[in-house]
Amino acid sequence: MISLILSLTFVSGCWDNSEVNEIAIELAWGIDKAENKKIMISAQAILPMRISGGQESISGESKNKPFFVVSGNGMNTLDAVQQMQTKLSRQVFRGHRRVIVIGESMARQGVKEVFDTYTRDPNLKLRTDIFIVRGGTAKNFLEKSYPLENISALGVLGEYGQMGTPVEMGLLNFLHAATSDGACPVVPAIAIGMDTKSQDQDNQNEQTNSDKEGFRLAGAGIFNKDLKLVGYLNAEESRAMQWVTGNLNKLTVPATIPHEGGNVSIILYRMHSKIQPDIQSGKLKILVTLTGKGAIRENNTRLDLTQTNNISVVQNALEHHVEEAVLRTITKVQKKYGTDVFGFSSTIKRKNLTLWKSIRNDWEEEFREAEISVNANITVRRIGVTGPALQLKASEIEK
């Protein structure tokens, strides 16, 4: 009896263990469109030997990438993974995935049909970020190396984090927005190459071949309720959008000071936003109040910032600039795409349920027609270590 129990302990258990050198750790995952309504899954699997194998590999020539990209086609994700597995000697291990990238064509076709597995499989984690490859395929992106990071896909996470938005929330936010009544998901976009000259064009098709290495954040892709990509915001617009949704931790705002012919830059922190819906004579009005506190770190004007009246001049200019930029963004989204990426719908639902119930059925129309005003409230908390710019003569300084 005892030996029976003992043997039970010994023969059981080992079914799902695997040594770390028997798994192919993949950190980034790409979804692309393939022919015949199939999808192509690409994975960036790391080669541990090339990463931390001691001194000899650190001197690493860039040709020996510490990762390789393997892909497979299939009817759905797991079918593709199975095909991918035929090319791999080690089991694909998806528990450490940090990034999911979606090719532009796939995003335009819609991702509703392929997203189930990312929440169903218990081996996967929710703390994953999603990106869209603007004007490229996911596989294309995964094959690029990045100068600062060994694993190139982690470079995009770093870029995204440096923007001041909370990272590792991408998948979760996407699912939140997708399941809510009015809101539409918005996903940061990346473009291959570090050359930024054509960034602001909405439909940017081909990269110049001058820069093959690296990639950059290129605004954000807007999805509609069918989870199809409808358009992009550029970098500035996407920052404005993040501020309105309250997901921004830091932001540098430059502004021209009227009547001065110079400009200032402020680094904002403690940024908040407040959305106040209101209905006036049957028309939806939304007041967005943005607040932020910050430190002035650049002052290219003749103003002496130790004077409080000069501070208020600067503040006004900054507020004006922010209001304009944010309103422009909101209006663009409103008129061009009609997708609520700012979370207005959920705020209305939260603050005024009866109003929401009355407008929810034609929310898209209401959103397009809504009258939106933006009010920025920026406080200068620090001005740096000097009052006026030091290169100015005393006579040039404006007190």
């Binding site: 258990g13 770390v20 798994i23 750790i25 990463i51 931390s52 291990f93 528990g95 450490h96």
Partner: protein, 530 residues
């Protein structure tokens, strides 16, 4: 007190002849009275000590004739010469008087220079006296013998205990001589309340064992339990206190020691003041202290000599280390073979990198290295000092470096095993640490079989076992379970001494006040005393 009662039922009433039970007749009729004839007495004794070359029979032909018997080597022969064998010792015996008893009296008077003297009248007492390093005087015409204490055997001096070193605190340690040991305790606690009860255990070895406690502070239930259990012991010889420990512990199959042992008189005295009972055994410097709790296993003597803030910090370090000692290898195995998701990505990559090309599964690797580490430790202890350095070189080079370079084991496993080894040595009580080193292996096997689930099951089993464990009727995990807030001051922290005012509620007697309240030093804030 249910447990004590149930214990009592188990007492075997086989032999009511408890202490000093007689030898199973080695020689003719040991209980016989001494005869008045010296020749007969000598004959009987010579027969008892047949073939014992170290027994000296020294007869002095004076009037009356005197026979001195002692064991060579156990007697202070210089004093013997000076006091007894001086030629004029027996000369003054007045003749003509009714000599038989008077001679005895006079000898007794002469022997005033010797501190301990008693008169005995049976053969048994005589042999006992001889064996316990006394000299025995037999006088012709007397049916009584004089047993005089003249112990003078070679003994080790008081040295610093090698196994329990402290930076601050007294440096003296117990020796192999019971009397010296009791004197070390007596010197620290100069109270008539300090009681030292002596009994003899071992039918052949006749070893002296002393039960030491402070009357009024000790818990009577515990004391009674100690007496009961010790009196139950029947064995041929007691050579070390471990012999006794195994007979009186509560759970012989538990990996955890339920009786504390120490070489340090200051630890013994501190324990006595807490209400514990010490058991001293002759011929060993290791003293047993009961009851033991889980937490005493993690307390070092310096905890009470250093300032409380520092000690509290060190205790937290120790608590973390003892968890590491138990769990680190199994956690490593579980995480790297079952739950790779839980390892930070970069760490996983470097682990996976170093495991590239290693022939064994992680579990086997860890087991192997742990085994080797235990082997090194064991070899290091037994090695003669001259060879000791060879062991460490071989250990460090072969196992630490060469094995990794050859790709037989991976570097993380070596790091894990080394960390675990260091952590296990940070447990202050050696025998408590061994419990953990032992338990590491079942934990490792559980982790290798079942992953984190196995580790958690193992920890649960361990906790269940610990909660059920008792030491002399006192719960092992107290004062955490059952929870005694006052006692927690000395477990999670080491509160300042003036705040630990009460003794343990579980194992101390009537007198529970350790320190009167209100002695916290108050800063005078610069004011001067008038």
């Amino acid at each position: 007190m249910r447990w004590i009662r149930s214990r009592k039922k188990l007492i075997r009433n086989k032999n009511s002849n408890r202490f000093g039970s007689t030898f199973p007749s080695l020689s003719p009729d040991q209980n016989a009275e001494l005869s008045t004839s010296l020749t007969i007495n000598e004959m009987m004794l010579r027969e008892i000590f047949l073939n014992s070359s170290d027994i000296i029979f020294r007869s002095i032909s004076s009037n009356p004739e005197v026979l001195i018997i002692y064991i060579d080597g156990l007697i202070d022969t210089t004093t013997l010469d000076k006091v007894m064998l001086t030629p004029n010792l027996f000369e003054e015996t007045p003749s003509g008087l009714n000599a038989t008893s008077i001679s005895g009296q006079i000898i007794q008077k002469k022997l005033v220079a010797i501190s301990q003297i008693k008169t005995v009248s049976t053969i048994n007492e005589v042999t006992d006296g001889i064996l316990k390093a006394n000299i025995v005087l037999l006088v012709d015409g007397e049916n009584k013998a004089i047993v005089a204490d003249l112990k003078g055997f070679e003994k080790r001096g008081i040295e610093e205990p090698a196994a329990e070193v402290s930076i601050r605190g007294p440096r003296d340690g117990f020796t192999e001589t019971l009397r010296i040991n009791t004197s070390l305790i007596r010197r620290r606690i100069r109270s008539p309340k300090l009681k030292i009860e002596s009994i003899t255990i071992g039918q052949v070895s006749q070893t002296d064992v002393a039960i030491v406690y402070i009357d009024g502070i000790v818990s009577n239930t515990v004391l009674k339990e100690v007496r009961d259990r010790i009196s139950r012991i029947e064995m041929d010889g007691v050579l070390e206190s471990g012999f006794i420990e195994e007979f009186i512990e509560d759970a012989p199959w538990s990996p955890f020691p339920q009786i504390q042992n120490t070489e340090r008189p200051d630890i013994v005295c501190a324990s006595l003041l807490e209400g514990k009972v010490a058991i001293l055994v002759d011929n060993t410097p290791f003293v047993l202290i009961v009851p033991m709790t889980f937490w005493t296993g993690l307390q070092a003597v310096e905890d009470y000599y250093e300032r409380s803030i520092y000690t509290t910090f060190i205790r937290f370090v120790r608590y973390s280390l003892f968890n590491i000692a138990l769990l680190l290898p199994s956690l490593y195995v579980a995480l790297s073979t079952f739950h790779q998701q839980l390892i930070p990505t970069n760490l996983l990559i470097s682990i996976s990198n170093s495991r590239e090309g290693v022939p064994f599964p992680t579990f086997v690797e860890a087991l192997l290295m742990e085994f080797m580490f235990e082997g090194l430790r064991e070899a290091g202890i037994r090695m003669p000092k001259a060879v000791g350095s060879a062991v460490s070189i071989v250990g460090a080079l072969v196992i630490g470096q060469a094995a990794v370079q050859a790709g037989i084991v991976s570097a993380p496993v070596v790091i894990v095993v080394a960390t675990t080894g260091i952590a296990s040595f940070a447990i202050p009580r050696y025998n408590f640490g061994t419990a953990y080193r032992l338990l590491r292996f079942p934990m490792l096997i559980l982790a290798g079989m079942l992953g984190l689930y196995g580790i958690i099951s193992g920890v649960f089993l361990l906790i269940i076992h610990l909660l059920g464990l008792q030491s002399f009727g006192v719960p092992y995990m107290n004062p955490v379970v059952p929870s005694i807030p006052q006692g927690l001051k000395d477990v999670l922290l080491r509160a300042p001494r003036w705040s630990m005012t009460r003794r343990s509620a579980l194992f101390s007697g009537k007198n529970k006040t350790r320190i009167p309240e209100g002695q916290q030093p108050i800063s005078k804030q610069g004011k001067t005393d008038e």
